[in-house]
């Protein structure tokens, strides 16, 4: 009898907990689930603008309605994709990169936006609208964009060697060169160097790029992703390719005897991350208002200053305070040919490749790494 009572009370307790939790979550507070890259929003650290908190405050003041933003982060487009496509959780706003957006819209995972709720969309430059991943401007609002360039330590590398992709293949700097530790980017560098099409399905072109990577192999100090920060800052390595915005993060933390410099080779990778609303969204209007808030002057500038990535928003690009904070040099590097963006982007950005090609590249990549 006693045992039964105990079991019953345990079950009852658990049920009460569940109900309470469900009740707390419901109530009159709306929830908005945002899924973004890590360290990709101004979060109030070091006295900056706390985007999420400000949105909650702004929303309550404007619509007299409490909102709780659940802000979670992912480390790669693929992580985000697998979480979303498992159907296990619903998100209201996600911020993936261009090629992933193309894939998601092809798989009907995105909802068309109602731009009446996103009036700030007019501040986005025309150059960033109607790109291949969203030709009719139905699903996306660009958040930030970046360009890959070459970072080098001017105390080690001679100025005349810099200027193009050959620096990453220069034997003078053997064992001081860093290469991307993911197949797409590593092959991309080799293909830009040789002027090949990075989106081809032709296997012989990938074979040619593979030869380049094999030639480069003995010169490479390490294949890296975010380890590049410490290796370049400390002078452990002297040459590497990475995103322009991240160059400034490294430059700000470089050791005393290191002088990091940056340049763009002729052909290089462009990418855009854009905000979109997946089909599993629970409150579309709220999500659109969040996107609109992200485009507002204060939030957009704070985010651009925090992430050091270029913003497609003219409220940011033309803001005097922002230009002053970033400095002339940074503006020039970050916003390289902002006017001719569409052309360069269409020519060089990665597209989603057929599965067959992807698996072929991965096989080649494995051999590069093993050799």
């Amino acid at each position: 009898m006693r045992k039964k009572l105990l079991t019953l009370s345990l079950v009852f307790g658990l049920l009460v907990c569940c109900l309470c939790f469900a009740g707390c979550a419901g109530g009159d507070t709306l929830t908005l689930n945002v899924y973004n890259w890590g360290e990709y929003i101004s979060d109030g650290s070091e006295g900056t603008f706390d985007t999420v908190k400000e949105f909650e405050k702004w929303y309550e003041e404007t619509y007299n309605q409490k909102v709780k933003v659940n802000y979670t982060t992912f480390a790669s487009n693929e992580d985000m994709y697998s979480k979303l496509s498992s159907g296990a959780v619903s998100y209201d706003v996600v911020i993936p990169s261009d090629y992933m957006i193309a894939r998601m819209s092809a798989e009907n995972m995105l909802q068309p936006l109602n731009f009446d709720n996103i009036p700030n969309y007019e501040h986005i430059y025309e150059e960033f609208k109607g790109l291949y991943y969203d030709p009719e401007n139905l699903y996306t609002v660009p958040y930030a964009y970046g360009i890959i360039g070459v970072i080098y330590n001017a105390n080690v590398v001679d100025a005349e060697d810099a200027g193009n992709w050959d620096l990453l293949w220069n034997e003078k700097y053997a064992e001081k060169i860093l290469q991307f530790n993911n197949s797409r980017d590593a092959f991309g560098m080799a293909m830009y160097k040789k002027g090949l099409d990075v989106n081809t399905a032709d296997q012989s072109v990938w074979d040619a790029a593979y030869e380049e990577l094999i030639t480069q192999r003995p010169l490479v100090y390490s294949y890296v992703m975010d380890e590049i920060y410490n290796m370049m800052e400390s002078g452990e390595a002297s040459v590497g390719a990475y995103y322009a915005g991240d160059y400034f993060t490294m430059k700000n933390a470089q050791a005393e005897d290191v002088d990091l410099q940056f340049y763009y080779p002729d052909n290089t990778n462009y990418y855009i991350d854009a905000m979109c609303i997946p089909t599993c969204c629970q409150n579309k209007e709220l999500a659109e208002r969040f996107i609109n808030f992200m485009l507002s002057e204060e939030a957009a500038i704070a985010n651009a200053e925090y992430t050091y990535y270029a913003s497609p928003n003219q409220l940011v690009y033309t803001n005097e305070g922002y230009i002053e904070n970033m400095g002339e040099d940074a503006m020039e590097i970050l916003y390289r040919n902002a006017d001719g963006f569409r052309e360069a982007y269409n020519k060089n950005a990665y597209r989603n490749l057929p599965a067959e090609t992807l698996s072929y590249i991965n096989t080649l990549w494995e051999t590069v790494k093993i050799n």
Binding site: F21, W37, Y40, S45, T73, A88, M225, N230, E236, D246
Partner: protein
């Protein structure tokens, strides 16, 4: 010989603790870099305590670990008592093996299979979010359970059965006998089990990664999300704090063990004297 063995020990300790020392030292670095130590400062600790999102994920991690520990300790102890009472040898071995599966199974398999179950059940219910705090809790209890059982079972085996029987002879109900006699005897095992469950739940990344929902992010998952850009030094500060907390728990668990061993020794001595 003696010198070489000393060198060996020193080397082992250097390899074990150098990373932690580096982390500790650079958490007090004024600059953001890992290569230059500019000046000593508490800047990153200050930053850490102003970072709402990170603190939220620390809070989440602690809530999850605490609840998972309480549940798995209660269930684990009850299960151990049950397993201990099983008479048939083959049956006991069978149950033991089955309960150990979550411990031996690679985390990634446990993680994926749990996710699949949750999604499946969620679909049946027609829920838009199959994963949330509760699914994570279930997953954590699952992998903590065998560790508790593992700690409590030997304690039960060390205990003399006669004592419980004597208590019941003298009029205790089985229920009361358990709390009056068995519980004090196995308590060290229960505590060690609980501490292990807590640290395991605190540490876990793989299983949490697969079972986390959209509103509850634990610390390991948050740090992993940072790796595309760079992990900020405030994480070194946080890691330093966590290291010392874990260390304290470890010391506590060792202390409990030692006390228990001493008690057992004393008891044996007394018994011998009486004989």
């Amino acid at each position: 010989m003696k010198i070489s063995s000393k060198i060996y020990t020193t080397l082992i300790f250097v390899f074990l603790f150098a990373p932690i020392v580096v982390l500790l030292v650079f958490s007090f670095n004024e600059a953001k870099s890992l290569s230059v130590f500019s000046t000593f400062s508490f800047k990153w600790y200050e930053e850490l305590f102003n970072d709402r999102n990170t603190l939220e994920s620390v809070k989440n991690t602690l809530i999850l670990a605490t609840v998972a520990t309480v549940i798995s300790t209660v269930m684990g102890t009850a299960a151990a008592v049950g397993i201990h009472r099983i008479r048939r040898h083959w049956y006991r071995t069978l149950i033991n093996t089955v309960t150990n599966i979550p411990m031996i199974n690679p985390d990634i398999i446990t993680g994926i299979s749990m996710m699949l179950v949750f999604v499946f059940v969620g679909r049946l219910w027609g829920a838009s979010n199959s994963l949330n705090f509760w699914t994570m809790l279930i997953a954590h209890v699952t992998f903590c359970l065998p560790y508790v059982i593992f700690q409590v079972l030997p304690k039960l085996q060390q205990m003399e059965r006669d004592m419980v029987e004597a208590a019941m002879d003298l009029g205790c109900t089985p229920f009361r006998a358990f709390f009056k006699v068995t519980m004090p005897e196995i308590l060290p095992g229960v505590i060690t089990g609980a501490i292990m469950a807590f640290t395991l739940s605190l540490d876990d990344f793989v299983i949490s990664y697969f079972t986390t929902g959209n509103d509850f992010q634990t610390l390991p998952i948050r740090i992993y999300g940072m790796t595309k850009k760079t992990v900020t030094p405030k994480m070194y500060a946080l890691a330093t704090i966590i290291f010392f907390v874990t260390m304290a728990l470890l010391l506590l668990s060792n202390f409990v063990d030692n006390e228990d061993n001493r008690r057992l020794r004393d008891k044996r001595k007394q018994l011998k004297k009486k004989k």
